[in-house]
């Protein structure tokens, strides 16, 4: 396969695994385009389209679309029959979707009643990641401040826009990957044929879908299918009511459950000076500060693209702040430390990235610096003629993005700024 084909394949994959457009519902308004944090969206011929190479899967467009035309990609519930032995990985945010939930075991038993053979909580994986984080921080091999890599939208953003900060990234698998790895390997050890085992994650967000499908830091994905929290919610509600025998299978710690909320991960590091930022714009500000040489006194930085943390994911059903309140209530009932790496008989390496993340050059104007400089100068001279009000009429999120599109060949070079044209017409 040639390089171009490979790039194409990755792009198609990303399209399948982040967000898709329902063209019938898209009205061509510019809401998503204006707010996309990487300016990946354009409105062309009255419909929004995503330049997937710039998409970080944050789900902001899904959240904001007033017409619900943006659909987060995930596997359908029908894929439950794809495997003989089904392991489900529920994330901490899932438990906060339910009103008056007094016992997490009700949700876990509900999942078993739905046909899953085994439950492995992502929060448990989070406990191991927290412990491994501490070990790595104490080794001092990663320059401070250490950046969390649990939110795949943030990791993707750093790989695209903040190449400087790559060395600060915590080289640990995300809790969901750890949970999947342990659960799958345990099942194989118990004699279940590998091809029969299906690991299902219930995702709160599209970023996790593409991260798990494409694999971040892993050689090959441990998770086989990614379901949405809202689908799981719809299926769980009816069966949870009718449960008669509730087995005590929950093995979450308060720290593990806390990972569902912004600051949960940072708190679990037990470090004195930590930052936890949530919401994609706030995260970008922190990354910029770090890039400008600030925040050198900080030990650990947790960043979550969604407001509130994973509870804010767009595939959840409940409001993030309501979910957060419920998780706080549940956290109080849980023990502090119950899952330790020592019990697993594993070394820290087991939790580390199996392969490095790759930097992405999606914003570079040209590989040749001379050509890139020329393009930049042309952009600057086009900018001088533009109204610089970022009205979005042209279908680009800003005048600068419009100028870039002209230079990059996304738009024909002679395309006129519609706002300027209209104003010139009016003044005649």
């Amino acid at each position: 396969m040639g390089k171009e084909d490979k790039v194409k394949l990755v792009l198609n994959e990303k399209a399948l695994h982040t967000v898709m457009l329902d063209p019938d519902k898209c009205m061509g308004c510019i809401t998503c385009m204006r707010r996309c944090p990487t300016e990946a969206i354009r409105v062309r011929n009255g419909k929004a389209s995503v330049a997937y190479e710039k998409c970080i899967g944050c789900g902001e467009c899904v959240r904001l679309c007033p017409h619900h035309a943006k659909i987060p990609s995930h596997d359908s519930w029908d894929c439950l029959n794809d495997f003989k032995y089904k392991i489900v990985l529920p994330p901490p945010s899932l438990y906060g979707q339910f009103t008056n939930l007094t016992d997490i075991n009700i949700v876990l038993n509900g999942l078993l009643a739905l046909g899953f053979d085994e439950v492995y909580e992502v929060g448990k994986g989070a406990d191991y990641v927290s412990e491994a984080t501490n070990i790595i921080m104490n080794r001092g091999t990663i320059p401070k401040p250490i950046l969390s890599t649990a939110c795949p939208a943030i990791s993707e953003l750093i790989m695209m826009s903040y190449h400087n900060l790559k060395d600060h990234l915590l080289n640990l698998l995300a809790p969901v990957d750890v949970a999947a790895k342990i659960a799958k390997q345990n099942a194989i050890k118990r004699g279940i044929p590998e091809e029969d085992i299906g690991v299902y994650f219930i995702s709160p967000c599209p970023a996790k879908v593409f991260a798990l499908k494409m694999g971040v830091g892993v050689e090959k994905p441990y998770v086989d299918r990614v379901l949405s929290t809202s689908d799981a919610y719809m299926h769980l509600l009816p069966v949870m009511k009718d449960l008669t025998d509730i087995k005590p299978i929950c093995s979450l710690s308060s720290h593990g459950l806390g990972w569902g909320i912004s600051r949960g991960e940072a708190n679990a590091t037990y470090k004195e000076s930590t930052i936890a930022a949530d919401g994609i714009d706030n995260c970008k500000q922190i990354l910029d500060m770090l890039e400008d040489g600030g925040l050198q006194d900080i030990d650990f930085i947790e960043l979550n693209a969604c407001t509130g943390g994973c509870v804010g994911g767009v595939m959840n059903v409940e409001n993030p702040f309501v979910t957060r309140g419920r998780l706080h209530t549940l956290i109080k009932k849980l023990p502090r430390n119950i899952n330790n790496i020592a019990d697993l008989n594993k070394t820290t390496d087991y939790f580390c990235w199996e392969q490095d993340l790759t930097l992405k050059d999606v914003f570079k104007l040209d590989d040749n610096r001379i050509v890139a400089m020329q393009k930049m100068m042309e952009i600057e001279s086009i900018m001088e003629e533009l109204p610089k009000v970022d009205c979005g009429l042209c279908g680009a999120p800003s005048c600068r993005a419009f100028a870039e599109d002209l230079i990059n060949g996304v738009l024909p070079r002679d395309t006129k700024c519609p706002r300027k044209e209209a104003m010139e017409k009016n003044s005649k």
Binding site: N164, D292, G293, M373
Partner: protein, 141 residues
């Protein structure tokens, strides 16, 4: 084609939140041109520090930036109170901040030394009562 990308920024002395705007925009341009991340980091640190200095000490000023193929030249010009003793101001740890402010972690006196450290050429011209010009050049790898 002219030789450089010429950019002029007003650094607002009354608005602390706006400090960093110029370095943000320069950073984004350098990324698009494909300058190495290590060089971008040097530019970001030196320029951000300079912008902050203009806001804190000089009531704002102008940042004039020229991006060449092989280097970036930055002039930070203000009409503030000027620096009396430049050599002293360049000493690591020297600061105009009073002790109680320093006890809070501000005014560590590393601003100018850091700017010098991350640049290939660094020069200050200052006249008390008139203003300060800081010239910085960073060569690209």
């Amino acid at each position: 084609m002219s030789e450089s990308i010429h950019l002029v920024f007003n650094v607002d002395g009354n608005n602390f939140a706006s400090a960093g705007t110029a370095s943000e925009e320069v950073k984004s341009k350098l990324k698009m041109i494909g300058i190495s991340s290590a060089d971008i980091r040097r530019v970001a640190i030196a320029m951000y520090e300079g912008e902050i200095n203009m806001v804190i000490h000089a009531g704002g000023g102008e940042a004039i930036v020229d991006i060449f193929l092989d280097r970036i030249e930055i002039l930070l010009a203000d009409h503030g109170k000027g620096i009396e003793d430049i050599e002293q101001a360049m000493q690591p740890g020297w600061s105009t901040a009073p002790d109680d402010i320093r006890a809070l972690g501000f005014g560590a006196g590393m601003g100018l030394p850091n700017m010098k450290k991350y640049t290939d050429e660094f020069r200050i011209d200052s006249t008390v009562g008139v203003g300060t010009n800081v010239y910085m050049t960073i060569k690209f790898n």
